[in-house]
Symmetry: C2
Subunit: 325 residues, 2 copies
Amino acid sequence: MKITIDCLQYCNWSRDIFEQMREGGLDAVHVTIAYHEDFRQTVDRISKWNRLLDQYSDLIQPGRTADDVLRARDTNKTAIFYGFQNCSPIESDIDLVEICHQLGARFMQLSYNNQSLLATGCYESDDPGITRMGKQVIAEMNRVGLVVDMSHSAERSTLEAIECSTRPIAVTHANPSRWHPALRNKSDSVLRALSESGGMIGFSLYPHHLAEGSACTLDNFCQMIADTADDMGIDHIGIGSDLCQDQPDSVVEWMRNGRWTREKDFGEGSKASPGFPDQPAWFKDNRDFPSLRAGLKKVGLNDAAVNAVMGDNWLRFFEKSFGPA
Amino acid sequence: MKITIDCLQYCNWSRDIFEQMREGGLDAVHVTIAYHEDFRQTVDRISKWNRLLDQYSDLIQPGRTADDVLRARDTNKTAIFYGFQNCSPIESDIDLVEICHQLGARFMQLSYNNQSLLATGCYESDDPGITRMGKQVIAEMNRVGLVVDMSHSAERSTLEAIECSTRPIAVTHANPSRWHPALRNKSDSVLRALSESGGMIGFSLYPHHLAEGSACTLDNFCQMIADTADDMGIDHIGIGSDLCQDQPDSVVEWMRNGRWTREKDFGEGSKASPGFPDQPAWFKDNRDFPSLRAGLKKVGLNDAAVNAVMGDNWLRFFEKSFGPA
């Protein structure tokens, strides 16, 4: 099928962006609702999104199930799936897992860079794996159909999450660390475990995750995908662009610092370049998905393989992941 | 000085208990405000205490500084110091450290049995030490004068907290694990590090922390104190009874389970005996402090040493700990 799914964006949403999604043929996108927000603040974010869905119903529609992706495609809209990049929305209350699923959440990262109540983030120096509460919460996420996302988690926690979870998990936005050894990228062991367990990785277009950063070429990126397909198989890979279009730099500062420190943390940036990095010239916004398709074809993927990476794999993952166990 | 300070209680507070405090000659007590409560719930607990302080002002008074202990003694009252057994009250917001201090909190545990955002609890299988946020929060607690308490934390986290903190820390309620190897008790390394850094341990009378549990004799308990004084020195030890008088068993279930699991956790108890254990016959309530004094004398401590353990050491610790750095 020719479906296009992007499994991670956090843009400064506007009619312009939703129109660009239509121009780029995007059928579904997983949007981030929360980074550091507690439950009440998360509800505020969801109600803001509910208003956007109402206001721009000519361009977007709610995404809750895989069928919504097809419905969106058939009516020339983009289906919006909610997700959290941290477990802050459930605070210390396991019962909020089901509540968040009822409110539309379909993905939740167990940690965001730092240690959480559930798992370790990729910026901590030590990773003891999934915590006592983490094991309970994974079981609950499995029960209700909230996907475990380990994009910003550390190595051992990620491997243990794959092992603990009775359902396949996702790394919605990251790249192989053998291609670019950023803390946020994933080791061969993680990629192998993901693929063996029926999980998914979405390749990121965020410059700090790219070999050569903003200067990374389309060809280099697509070749990395082709190489990863050779290792992991074609069925477990997709796109999770991590596009943060039109966001002011104050937003990346918030992502990195939340309220956990009084000193300033620069995360993947530095004091000299603290803001959002420039997107590569060939992936500036949602209109660039067709050229990504073309790039994949150019490095030798056949039509079925291009379709698999661009959307079919995520669609199949959505089909088995969002309902009760 | 003949001062009596108990550095941990969580009773089902009533006029009876406050009167027993007066009968037992208790000049100050550190009371637990929160186990799993978030900030808003913690404020509710504090406002309930503020009402108790008003309602029973003939027996109790607020405790904020070491001077309040002396003021209470001089007016035949017990000074009430607020503390948290977990970092849940500050949620993921470092700025709530100062807010909690302004509301009267003087102690905060970095973790309660489980992994927290700051440190590891003693029931986790792995302990990676103090987290990134933990280091920031310890610095902030040092700045405002909120004492780091590691009573329910795991070994490496406790040692690292002692190291990270620029001010002495406390283990308000625990015993040496060489005397009784419970997960909640503390190793020789922790006791040594506490003593070398000017910290304090308060000896617990909670049966699960006692050799022979509820059957532990006064003599055995007092001999353990005398032995620990030989190892740690007499200046770094006190009482933190962990008295949970008149609480229904639903409270210990809440302490253990909060909202972090859907399975029932029995903590130090078991399925066969899930409730609060019976107190030893010689320490049933606050009227038993004088017999504890007598017990310490009986095992050979001189008057100055008995006074040190029963209150002078905590008073000196309070003097240097509760104000700005």
